[in-house]
Amino acid sequence: MWRRSPSFILDRTSSSPPMAADTTRTPIQNPDSISAYYQTRAAHHGVITSEWLSQAQAAVGGVVSGDEHPVSSLNELGNEKSFNVIEEFNSWRKQPDLAEAVAAIRALAAVIRASEATTMMELEIELKKASDTLKSWDKTSISLTAGCDLFIRYVTRTSALEYEDFNSAKSRLLERAEKFGEISCKARRIIAMLSQDFIFDGCTILVHGLSRVVLEILKTAAQNNKLFRVLCTEGRPDGTGVLLSSELSKLDIPVKLLLDSAVAYSMDEVDMVFVGADGVVESGGIINMMGTYQIALVAHSMNKPVYVAAESYKFARLYPLDQKDMAPALRPIEFGLKIPTKVEVERSARDYTPPQYLTLLFTDLGVLSPSVVSDELIQLYL
């Protein structure tokens, strides 16, 4: 998969841009029912603005350990290994520039390092177990699952491993895991380069959600002296749009903030819609932050192109048939007013956008149409 990536467009020497630094979190009312996926996300999002950096640093220690305790105490009852894996994963997860998939792979690499297995088969079984615990620890994160699957795939599939002696095979695996982190940063650069052709001078881009890839794209475009305007949705309740717009204004990109409900109102002046993705599923559709689906619907009905920027490790072997057909990632929602207890609140953090409403996917495998995703997945996993 990586071999086929159009990484040639990247300057070899270019280093990954330093992203913002650390974690902070939105207040969480009932930690038990909140998806860990959402926590990571919230953590990463909170961070991007540098103003928050100082608070974040203070917050990191206490908060992270605070919300991990219930989970890990559950796992302590189980075997020791699962405890280790998750611990490891969480420590990696704290680095905001690392995608979840990369954190997962780093955690698996730690498993390999710690492993006392003497044969490939044993190691494989151990890895499998570890990845299963990781996956079951957070069922809502797509890229975590996809990352684990990818790595396991690599271990079980690479025929070269069979011919080497155990130790060199092991070190090769570790090397591979190390590389993965680089790849994920590189993928963002590739995607940013690929998508430059689609941004033309004078265009207006609607952005929903706070995606590192989309930010990278806009940054690169601005650096290339493209003249464009960005409309940011507010992104209630996380205020992702507020964060993104402040980030963009620092780059001197003209930006306008919209209410989430004003999308249709302003769609007329929009030339294209850019969104990121939490996961790209087999049908070619995407799972992304709540509101993406309705923006895609509006854009589709007004014949505006919808572009998705996603790294290929977000490709997941999932096939939701409709919105309810996936594990919901629940999140707390603050309405500001007191909500009577009888009133139910829809707390899902993301929705599924079917492929027919997407125009193109910008990935590190190239610019793909939605139907190609499945082809890539089949080739990857079969």
Binding site: R317, Y319, K324, D325, P355, S374, I378, Q379, Y381
Partner: protein, 647 residues
């Protein structure tokens, strides 16, 4: 194609260079001869042949010679004959440049055969045209009488097996008739005699081995061939040659091969009269074609229902080349005892396993080739019983591929064992195993409180429902059914027995019932590479209504049923069922309003068996490679085909 070629052949003098040639070394390879000949040929062609009728000269000849491919020129000892040495020349001096004529080694016109034929007649070999497969190569030919010997052989021939379909361009010859007329009138006495003789020989032979060619058929073959046997008609002559070969060689048992080659193409166009006639002549199963077919579907085979069975039964002991297991399966197809894509395919494969088990390579034959020919002949028999499904086509391709790939080093018993286990593996992995995987995937899509709709009685869906029930999922099933098969009732019985809550309705009520459905599960006979699902008639209707109600449509189909063909409608390829099934309602005499009208020329019944659902109406295809969107079918086909060959 040929019509374009013929005129060319006639006009282009080069074509006629392909001449007659006597070679002293009977066994020399054709290429060699070819090379030797290249020079003499033009000369021979230009020299007026001795025979009065032989048109091989410059005269306008109807001889169909395809555009001049050098290597396809055929040589014949005409010149020798002209020189008076002809009788001495054994026919084996024939050189065949078109080696492709003999794909199985079952040459219709092999040198050996010819020589035999000529010995029998102790005559000068008669030039005959041997159009190659696809007519790309062809022999120059004329039957000629040689005054010196006074004896002429005319070979009477069946259609050369492999050529049957392609060469059915023989109609073209009728165009040529005009040209041939004068020649025809010139037919010499000797020639006429030869024809008669050939006829007689054919009859005798037919009698001798009645089993392989139905008596009536062989006679008719002979007679037709004689009728056609005008010397001017090259391709007929070719036929004759091969018939002669077949006739003389009867005991050799090339019958299956002949049968195989004459078998109707699986997708034969049944509105093509001449092909139908030809196919019929060869058919083992005697079928009466239905009258009053719907115009639009004339290209599909349709036979009077029930006419084949008794006939086939009476022939049980005559069909010696047919393996009993194959025969049994054929009968079951015919009577409808086995239906459903998987069941039919498994039955066929198991019959082939039996065949392989009982197989022994005939002396002087190659296992790979002979077995392939045998399988082909069985397949053509099965086609006569019921048109193949695409899944069966894929399975047959697999079997043939395995046979072809058998290493020559294997002993016969090893090869047989390998084949049997290959077939076994195909059944287990690609059909039964695939179903398991499909069930595993599909069950993840069933949630508590679902209302699942299914249409007809797809086996995969039934397995899914039963498995989901075992997993204690709470769901309800809506079985939609349609006349005339009412297969849904069987499914309903089995589901209810397991305690699943079901609703049964006919397809007429689909738009009413759809609003309460949460998912539609459908089976498929095949999935084509543009994502079109080819399935039981009515499926498209269900899928379209479902997608109008925004209900997801899941199609369950094993990957071995995928096909790289593209189909846009359900007209060009389909199967016609028994018209009586829709004209009558059994047990309801009071509403059989169409009694007595079935043969009315103004009334046509259309009982289609399949339809094609465009991919737009399908949300997901569940296959043994996981759940894929219909746009990914080509990927599966591509990847699978690779694996398919490796299996």
């Amino acid at each position: 194609m040929e019509s374009r070629r013929n005129p060319r052949a006639v006009v282009d003098p080069k074509v006629r260079q392909v001449g007659f040639f006597t070679s002293s070394q009977p066994d020399s390879s054709s290429t060699q001869q070819q090379q030797q000949q290249t020079d003499p040929i033009p000369a021979s062609a230009s020299s007026p042949p001795v025979s009065t009728i032989s048109p091989s000269g410059n005269s306008l000849s109807p001889v169909m010679i395809p555009p001049p491919r050098l290597n396809s020129s055929d040589t014949f000892p005409l010149r020798g004959a002209a020189a008076g040495a002809s009788s001495a020349v054994s026919p084996s001096s024939f050189s065949y440049s078109n080696r492709r004529d003999f794909p199985d080694g079952s040459t219709t016109a092999s040198p050996g055969r010819h020589s035999r034929g000529s010995f029998v007649k102790s005559s000068t070999p008669v030039a005959s045209s041997l159009p190659g497969i696809g007519m790309d190569s062809m022999a120059a030919a004329k039957s000629s009488s040689v005054p010196a010997s006074g004896l002429t052989t005319v070979s009477v021939a069946t259609m050369p097996p492999g050529l049957a379909e392609k060469a059915s361009g023989m109609e073209v010859q009728s165009d040529q008739k005009k040209n041939s007329k004068p020649l025809k009138e010139k037919t010499t006495k000797a020639e006429r005699r030869a024809i008669q003789e050939a006829q007689r020989a054919a009859k005798a032979a037919a009698k001798a081995d009645g089993g392989k060619v139905p008596p009536g058929t062989s006679a008719s073959v002979a007679s037709t061939s004689v009728k056609v046997a005008k010397p001017a008609k090259p391709s007929t002559q070719k036929n004759e040659v091969s018939v002669a070969a077949g006739v003389t060689e009867k005991k050799g048992g090339p019958s299956e091969k002949d049968r195989k080659k004459d078998a109707p193409h699986p997708r034969m166009q049944y509105d093509d009269e001449s092909r139908v006639v030809k196919a019929k002549r060869r058919a083992v199963v005697k079928q009466t074609e239905a009258k009053n077919r719907v115009e639009l579907f004339r290209h599909l085979p349709q036979y009077e229902h029930g006419t084949q069975l008794p006939d086939l039964e009476t022939k049980f002991f005559q069909l010696d080349p047919m393996h009993p297991a194959v025969y049994k399966v054929g009968l079951q197809y015919l009577s409808g005892d086995i239906s459903g894509g998987n069941a039919r395919c498994i039955a066929m494969l198991q019959a082939f396993q039996e065949v392989v088990k009982d197989y022994s390579t005939p002396p002087e034959k190659n296992l790979n080739r002979d077995m392939t020919a045998k399988i082909s002949s069985y397949v053509s028999f099965l086609i006569e019983c019921r048109p193949l499904s695409i899944s069966m086509g894929n399975a047959i391709r697999f079997v043939k591929n395995r046979i072809a790939k058998l290493p020559i080093t294997l002993s016969e018993s090893e090869a047989k064992a390998a084949l049997q286990s290959d077939i076994e593996r195909f059944i287990n992995d690609k059909i039964i195993g695939a179903d398991m995987v499909i069930v595993k995937h599909a069950v993840t899509k069933i949630r508590d409180g679902d209302v699942l709709l299914t249409y007809g009685s797809p086996t995969a869906v039934e397995m899914i429902l039963l498995h989901a029930h075992e997993l204690k999922k709470k769901f309800r099933v809506l079985v939609v059914d349609s006349r005339p098969k009412l297969e849904g009732q069987l499914l309903l019985r089995r589901l209810i027995k397991r305690g699943i809550s079901c609703t049964y309705t006919h397809i007429n009520a689909i738009s009413y019932i759809m609003h309460e459905v949460t998912k539609v599960f459908l089976g498929a006979s095949s999935v084509l590479s543009n994502g079109t699902v080819y399935s039981r008639v009515g499926t498209a209707c269900v899928a379209m209504v479902a997608s109008a109600f925004r209900v997801p449509v899941l199609v369950c189909c094993e990957a071995y049923k995928f096909h790289e063909r593209v189909q846009l409608d359900s007209i060009c390829s389909n199967e016609l069922g028994d018209p009586n099934a829709i004209s009558k309602v059994h047990g309801r005499e009071d509403i059989n309003y169409l009694d007595g009208l079935t043969n009315n020329a103004n009334l046509q019944f259309l009982n289609l068996m399949y339809d094609a659902t465009p991919s737009d109406y399908i949300s997901m295809i569940i296959t043994d490679y996981g759940m894929v969107p219909p746009t990914s079918v080509p990927v599966i086909v591509r990847e699978y085909q690779k694996e398919h060959l490796l299996v």
